[in-house]
Assembly symmetry: C2
Homo-oligomer: 177 residues x 2
């Protein structure tokens, strides 16, 4: 399996599962606006190129139909997290493996974020390179009240959908580590 | 804060958050039967001794009102996981910090587990020392379709409830790492 992504989080999840893979990042222009599921799936398609054995993945955060990508700076991270405070947003991933595509949605509910907590979190710098400006597998766990759906999707690679695409044999093969 | 637990998973979550703590495990006899929430809270109380500044935590898996603790051997792990296959179970934690106690429930839905997947998972040995016989933060992620509630509770320490007990100031203090 070839992973068309640079994301260290996605690599970590594949390693957690023991699925053998190679990394071959694609440099493509990504959509940033539109219907969240359609955007995530189209971006996954651009990354994978629809090639056999290649997995393309795109993950974004959506609230009220608007897409939140990676904040450009600390002020943008602060503004994004303030909008997510006390509310439930959607983490949407598109996956394309060969010709098979799927979208996965996980709902994430944030606690109310007082200024001191926002300031603390933005100061960690964890918002960099993260859709929605937080990392649930890091300090960002402190922002979250609960989720509904696949946790690994919030990290960046939905395991349940991945195994549906690859088959559980991907776990069992001699190539797995 | 003093953590009355040997669990490496609980230590890892506190380190993930940057909360300063010491470990002081308690050797107490634990309840294994009864109402799941009452059992988890009572076990947490036994571990913490109700002492100020001491956190006691107990986590168990419940299905149809029955409690699943740590499997005693591979055959028991196999039997437990087979019962959880294709169904939604509850992960129940009791927390006691000083005089303040709380219980937290997260619902976990397993995929249908064919024999080959069960055999593969039990062979990883990850079931050892895990309530319910799986580790969601490890290979066990492959067993899970989705969850509802706090993911960190399934790992062994519910972060949202912990911050409610400690206050978010636990994240911000100079003692935090």
């Amino acid at each position: 399996m070839i992973l068309a992504s640079r994301s260290p989080q996605r690599r970590a999840i594949l390693e957690q599962l023991g699925i053998a893979f190679e990394v071959r990042p694609a440099d493509v222009e990504e959509l940033t606006q539109g219907d969240p599921k359609a955007v995530a799936l189209e971006n996954a398609r651009r990354k994978s190129g629809g090639q056999p054995g290649v997995l393309g993945v795109d993950t974004l955060v959506a609230l009220d139909g608007a897409i939140f990508g990676k904040p450009v700076d600390a002020a943008a991270a602060h503004a994004t997290l303030r909008m997510l405070s006390g509310r439930t947003h959607e983490v949407v991933s598109g996956l394309l493996y060969g010709d098979d595509g799927v979208t996965v949605v996980t709902e994430v509910t944030f606690r109310e974020l007082p200024d001191e907590l926002l300031d603390w979190y933005v100061a960690t710098g964890e918002w960099r390179e993260r859709a929605g400006g937080y990392a649930i597998q890091g300090r960002g766990a402190a922002l979250v009240r609960g989720i509904r759906g696949d946790y690994s999707n919030v990290v960046g690679l939905p395991v349940a959908a991945l195994l549906d695409l690859l088959g559980v044999s991907a776990l069992l093969s001699p190539g797995a580590r």
